[in-house]
């Protein structure tokens, strides 16, 4: 609160500088070095992980990517975790979005991982590109996928000619829809795909959007969720425990989560410290009077 004397302002300013310095130093430390902080995987991440495993071989996974540069720090590791899992578990998938930016990011990640894991474009995965997100487009997509998407976005080939698309015609052939997003784009999948065809839907929103997702999770309209960077880290943990392959990351979620966690710990410690000071000062003042 506004302090009166310049000396008090200066004191608070010094205090703030120290806090900023400690915060940044701790976070950098935890980013640079792989620390073993206690870690648990929540039920939502697990639910999503299991849902990927349950996709049948004659089905396709739809990876809907709707995020922009602003949320790279949360959305990119989520996307990267899901793509690695899809490749490792040998699930065919299609990248899709309602504007060009998200699918572009996802494509770069997929290309890098495909090269490393020996996967082929058009056989193991495909990029459908983007379509403006009107309701009519989604309804068309649910009924007739090749007719709505028409071409893939890399080779501009007729979708029906790509091996990855064999047997995939409508929403009934989608084994799972994964939405990685920083905008409110989940409802349409829940209403028109899960609601009509029973397609399982998994959700990877940014941390600020998490509270709004609980009603859907409670109603089992979502099979699972990756909550921001924490969700990505949980997923990374699951991947590392279950696969005997080294995971690679453009932005390693476990380390990032360690840095986030240490910041939370610092904030809690500061609150405790602040209250301790408050009490001692009060007691001193009380003794004086």
């Amino acid at each position: 609160m506004a302090s009166v004397t310049p000396a008090e302002i200066e004191r608070q300013r010094r205090q703030s500088r120290i806090i900023y310095g400690v915060l940044a130093a701790l976070m950098v430390l935890f980013l640079l070095f792989e620390m073993k902080l206690p870690f648990v995987v929540g039920p939502q991440a697990l639910g999503l992980y299991d849902a990927v495993g349950k996709v049948r071989d004659d089905q396709l996974v739809l990876l809907s990517v709707n995020w922009e540069a602003g949320t790279v720090g949360e959305s990119m590791p989520q996307t990267e975790a899901l793509i690695q899992h899809l490749f490792l578990a040998k699930k065919r998938f299609a990248i899709f979005g309602i504007d060009p930016i998200g699918p572009g990011f996802a494509q770069r990640i997929a290309e890098r991982q495909a090269e490393r894991l020996g996967k082929t474009y058009g056989v193991d995965w495909v990029n459908w590109g983007y379509k403006p997100g009107q309701l009519a487009m989604f309804l068309g997509l649910a009924r007739d996928i090749p007719g709505t998407i028409k071409q893939d976005s890399i080779r501009k080939a007729d979708l029906t000619t790509l091996p990855v698309m064999r047997g995939i015609k409508s929403a009934r052939d989608l084994g799972l829809i994964l939405e990685v997003t920083s905008t409110d784009s989940i409802e349409i999948w829940i209403q028109y795909f899960h609601g009509v065809y029973g397609t399982p839907v998994g959700y990877a929103p940014t941390a600020v959007m998490v509270p709004e997702a609980y009603p859907y999770l409670n109603a089992k309209q979502l099979v699972g969720m990756l909550a921001g960077i924490k969700g990505a880290a949980e997923y990374a943990d699951l991947l590392e425990r279950n696969w005997d392959v080294e995971m690679t990351w453009e932005y390693p979620p476990r380390r990032a989560m360690n840095a986030v966690a240490i910041a939370h710990v610092l904030i809690v410690l500061l609150i405790v410290l602040g209250n301790y000071q408050y009490f001692t000062r009060h007691r001193r003042r009380a003794e004086r009077t």
């Binding site: 300013r13 703030s16 500088r17 900023y20 940044a24 976070m27 950098v28 980013l31 640079l32 790279v72 720090g73 949360e74 940014t206 941390a207 600020v208 998490v210 509270p211 921001g228 960077i229 924490k230 932005y251 990032a256 840095a259 986030v260 910041a263 939370h264 904030i267």
Partner: protein, 209 residues
């Protein structure tokens, strides 16, 4: 080469912004001005290519000559610099204000009536008990918080005063929860910036010989 320039510029820009955490300084000031300049340029380009070009220039040259009136009306904003004509800028403004006001009738209905209707929940029924507790709490919270915002009584009666302070407490819980739920998102932003500084800059910014 281009990537190298981008990485280093981004690194310097990031550090320059963070320098204000220590104190205001010439480097921050310089980058603040650069940022505002870039943002202005970005806005101009977006304004032209996303708004004026497709919604004004192209239709006008496509035969809808009457779009020229938009320019005249837009020009009225500029009368603020001419005292004799300054009232004209208010003319445009009043129309905009009238619109902003007229929208409220629909806005009130679409924003708040569904929420009101969603609160019509039973507080006693054979359904699972925990849901009922929640329903009861929701109703109590709504009533208490709304009571807090009454202006016409000095909260004289004890019942009103009690309900209003309960409302204020519940509000504080809600605000605390919002604060807490925002922390991770903000820290995650910083984490990625720091990762850029300590990982991307060394790995992408130093050419491999």
């Amino acid at each position: 080469m281009k990537d190298l320039v981008i990485v280093w510029l981004a690194a310097i820009a990031t550090l320059a912004i963070y320098s204000i955490l220590y104190k205001e300084n010439p480097i921050y000031r310089f980058f603040e001005h650069v940022f505002i300049g870039l943002a202005t340029g970005y806005s101009i380009a977006r304004l032209w290519s996303d708004v004026l070009l497709p919604s004004w220039w192209q239709p006008m040259l496509g035969g809808q000559w009457y779009w020229i009136f938009a320019l005249v009306v837009g020009g009225m904003f500029y009368t603020i610099y001419l005292p004799r004509y300054a009232w004209m800028s208010r003319l445009v403004m009043t129309v905009l204000m009238g619109m902003a006001a007229g929208i409220a009738f629909k806005g009130f209905a679409t924003l708040y009536i569904p929420q009101l209707a969603a609160t019509f929940r039973p507080i006693f029924s054979p359904a699972p008990p925990y849901l009922l507790v929640n329903n009861l709490l929701i109703i109590i919270t709504v009533v208490a918080v709304m009571t807090y915002f009454f202006f016409s009584f000095e909260h004289k009666s004890r019942a009103v005063r009690g309900t209003a302070s309960l409302g204020r407490w519940l509000l504080m819980i809600a605000f605390g929860a919002i604060f807490g739920s925002t922390v991770m998102a903000r820290v995650a932003l910083l984490t990625y910036r720091l990762w850029f500084l300590v990982h991307d800059v060394p790995s992408r910014g130093i050419p491999h010989l």
